[in-house]
């Protein structure tokens, strides 16, 4: 009874944490979120994406050909709540709540501890993990992908005892391939490793039937993906591989070793260095993800104090490596970072998100050991850890992030859209230098009718949707032109010129008779956008000077 009540409280707390100010924190909506949300809106109204493609198997978006499940699930959210930050992020937040439940079931199922409280404590810290929270507050597919992966993993663990779960496990893992690019690599790798490590059980007579059924069904639901498997769209992420870096290092070393040895040496070095980064305490507990959109200021993937149970957990895992649950955790831990380790991004918490599960399990092992060793002294320490973690989270998520990363998250575009709405009959030129893809942000916040954006795109894209992988954003949206300022022309026509603080200097504004009509600043007071009204008559009356642009 007590455990049930505590579990319900945990879920309520998680839901509150993940949903609180979901639309305000992070401030703004960055291009990938806006792109997903607008395509869901376009599907809702027209049955087609922003390029005019009906019900795609993979969404082109900004050239990423993202697997479709998250976008389709966002359609009802947009229908219910409209086109705003909350509707785009809702599916991600709800996935995170379900993920906490799945993690709880996994910890209980693995029997890391005989204690009833350990799964609750572990799940609470899981819910508080910065790595999870930054992804749940982003309107993209990562958390949904993690949910399906975790559910599949849990089912496959149960499947080692009850064969029927094998079917559910493989089906869920297969479904996760429709959520993100990482799953395309991770699911086959993990599934193969699972079959090898547990082959004695899985290939026994009593399990074989369910195993074959599970794998067959998993392949069956991949038929839509197989239809585009040999198109450029399916392998668009291949550019992330670090082959050029390997060749560069090998060329540098050919003074001492032959290239036939240098290339494999440096290729393995590159992979292992990336792989070990996902286990390095420095990366996990002390350094944020280098991508400012994938991290909080001053906070890493986990809290700093978690390095202690992490190191203890690793020791326990190695000592008990022959036990079934430890084998399973090791299998997860060694397979989940592989897709991310094949890319050139140093420590990508987005691509390595599935590694959150085994790493948190390892930390839970350490917490359990400490709890058993400290006895009654454990409870006050756990409370201190919770309070400290909450303080660090509050500081990074609700104080520093909305101020310091606002522009990174597309803050200002909503206000810009409001300014544009005030001038429906004016021509507007927006200088996109140094800005995120402008067209989709404006399409989202104006909002632009989907047929208009569909016609603004290159029409050949919809006919060769999965072949035409080049991304060329439209430069004309209704009365808006998205291009660099043509000083020889624009200042002699009646229009509004918009850019960042460097697009038009005060000297240029004075020289070309430009009148500032609006300014949009970030929470720290820095200018994001400036809008100038041209005055062609005044300009022509001014003495001619040499054009400065």
């Amino acid at each position: 009874m007590k455990t049930t009540v505590a579990f319900i409280l945990l879920i309520i707390f998680s839901a509150a944490l993940f949903l609180y100010q979901l639309d305000k924190v992070p401030a703004g909506l960055y291009a990938d979120e806006v792109s997903t949300g607008y395509n869901a809106y376009s599907l809702l109204l027209t049955g087609k994406d922003e390029y005019g493609k009906p019900y795609p198997i993979a969404f082109k978006l900004l050239g990423s050909y993202t697997p479709p499940l998250y976008t389709y699930l966002t359609v009802p959210s947009v229908w219910l709540f409209g086109l705003n930050a909350f509707s785009v992020r809702l599916v991600s937040a709800l996935s995170a709540v379900l993920l906490v439940i799945t993690f709880y079931l996994l910890v209980r199922g693995l029997r890391i501890s005989s204690s009833r409280s350990l799964p609750l404590i572990a799940s609470l810290f899981f819910a508080l993990t910065p790595w999870l929270i930054i992804n749940n507050r982003t309107g993209h597919e990562a958390t949904l992908a993690l949910l399906l992966f975790a559910a599949g993993v849990f089912s496959l663990w149960k499947g080692l005892k009850e064969q029927s779960f094998l079917v559910l496990g493989f089906l869920t893992l297969s479904a996760s391939i429709y959520t993100g690019h990482t799953a395309k690599f991770l699911v086959p790798i993990f599934s193969l490793a699972y079959l090898i490590v547990f082959r004695k059980t899985l290939f026994s007579k009593s399990y074989l039937k369910m195993l074959v059924a599970g794998i067959a069904l998993a392949f069956f639901i991949q038929i839509p993906n197989l239809a585009i498997a040999f198109t450029p769209a399916f392998s668009v992420k291949g550019q992330l591989f670090y082959s050029s870096e390997v060749v560069r290092q090998a060329n540098y070393a050919t003074q001492t070793i032959p290239q036939s040895l240098a290339i494999p040496y440096f290729a393995i070095r590159e992979f292992l260095s990336q792989f070990f980064t996902y286990f390095s305490p420095r990366s996990l507990f002390f350094l944020p993800d280098p991508d400012p959109q994938r991290s909080f200021p001053e906070l890493s993937a986990f809290y700093p104090w978690m390095v202690i149970p992490y190191l203890i957990g690793i020791t326990i895992l190695i000592k008990t490596r022959k036990e079934l649950s430890s084998k399973f955790i090791l299998l997860l831990a060694l397979s989940t970072p592989i897709p991310a380790a094949l890319t050139k991004d140093p420590f990508s918490t987005y691509r390595a998100l599935p590694a959150l599960i085994p790493l948190m399990l390892i930390i839970s092992l350490g917490i359990n050991w400490l709890k058993e060793k400290l006895g009654k002294a454990a409870l006050p320490l756990i409370i201190i850890a919770i309070i400290y973690s909450l303080f660090l989270l509050w500081r990074s998520l609700f104080v520093l992030l909305p101020h310091e990363r606002a522009v990174t998250w597309g803050y200002g575009f909503q206000a810009l859209a409001e300014e544009i709405k005030k001038h429906p009959d004016q021509k507007i030129v927006i200088d996109p230098s140094r800005l995120k893809p402008v067209y989709i942000e404006l399409a989202y916040f104006l909002p632009l009718p989907p047929p208009l954006l569909q016609d603004s795109h290159d029409l050949t894209v919809r006919d060769n949707y999965y072949q035409h992988v080049a991304f060329n954003p439209p430069s004309n949206l209704s009365n808006i032109e998205i291009r660099g300022i043509i000083w020889e022309k624009d200042i002699y026509e009646e229009k509004i010129i918009v850019g960042d603080e460097f697009a038009v200097s005060p000297v240029q504004a004075e020289e070309h008779a430009l009148r500032k009509i609006f300014e949009i600043r970030d929470p720290l007071g820095k200018i994001i956008f400036q809008g100038f009204q041209t005055d062609p008559i005044e300009k022509r009356l001014k003495k001619p000077k040499s054009h400065s642009s």
């Binding site: 070990f276 980064t277 305490p281 507990f285 002390f286 104080v399 520093l400 929470p523």
Partner: protein
């Protein structure tokens, strides 16, 4: 004994860090190698003499590291950090100032954050086997310490050490650990006071594998 020495020398020769230290300062390099050798021997035979010698040499190596480490003022903010702390204090809601001012602007916060950063660098396996790649420390010309090919030997050595009588001598690592966390290290050479621990563990692995190969060869013949 001869075989132990041979495998030890092989481990030192295979480590780029040994050569970097010898090139930087031959006395430093020899001190590091000698320290490693004494520690390595003490793992097999934990007699008091060897333990005391290990303590002495590790302390000497640590003092060498302290002398070479630039003494950044860890109890002070740099001008950039002062500006950031001031800006950040303004980001908090006013009613939290009584906590947040202390958190952002006190010298102790600067000292703690530097020590945490030093600690994180010291326990980063990538520092030792990949020259901190792919997260190289900014402004640091990282040097290669041990090739990644030695990782399996290092792990094997860690496993083998559990069976040795002198395994507790590895706790001497706390001496350089403490000083490196507080003061940092000379970034271009890395925390070389840790070199003996890596070298002795890898030497142990080489020795154990060498013994296994010898036994196998004897059985065959």
């Amino acid at each position: 004994m001869a075989r132990k020495v041979l495998w030890f020398l092989a481990a030192c020769a295979s480590s780029l860090w040994s050569w970097e230290l010898l090139i930087f300062n031959p006395y430093l390099g020899l001190l590091a190698i000698a320290t490693s050798f004494i520690l390595y021997l003490s793992l097999f035979n934990p007699i008091r003499k060897l333990l005391l010698l290990s303590l002495l040499f590790i302390s000497a190596l640590t003092v060498f590291q302290i002398k070479l480490t630039p003494k950044d003022l860890i109890l002070s903010f740099t001008p950039a950090e002062k500006t950031l702390a001031r800006v950040r204090t303004g980001e908090y809601p006013p009613y939290t100032n009584f906590i947040t001012r202390r958190w952002e602007e006190r010298k102790e916060s600067a000292a703690v954050s530097v020590m945490i950063r030093n600690f994180s660098e010291v326990i980063d396996p990538n520092l030792y086997f990949f020259a901190s790649h792919p997260r190289e420390r900014i402004g640091t010309g990282e040097v290669e310490k041990f090739s990644y090919l030695l990782i399996p030997f290092f792990i094997h050595g860690l496993v083998m050490i559990r069976k040795l009588p002198g395994k507790h001598n590895l706790f001497l690592i706390s001496i350089p650990a403490l000083t490196t966390i507080i003061l940092g290290d000379i970034k271009t050479l890395g925390p070389f006071a840790f070199y003996p621990f890596f070298a002795s563990i890898i030497s142990l692995s080489f020795f154990k594998i060498g013994e296994k190969i010898k036994l196998w060869a004897e059985k065959k013949s």
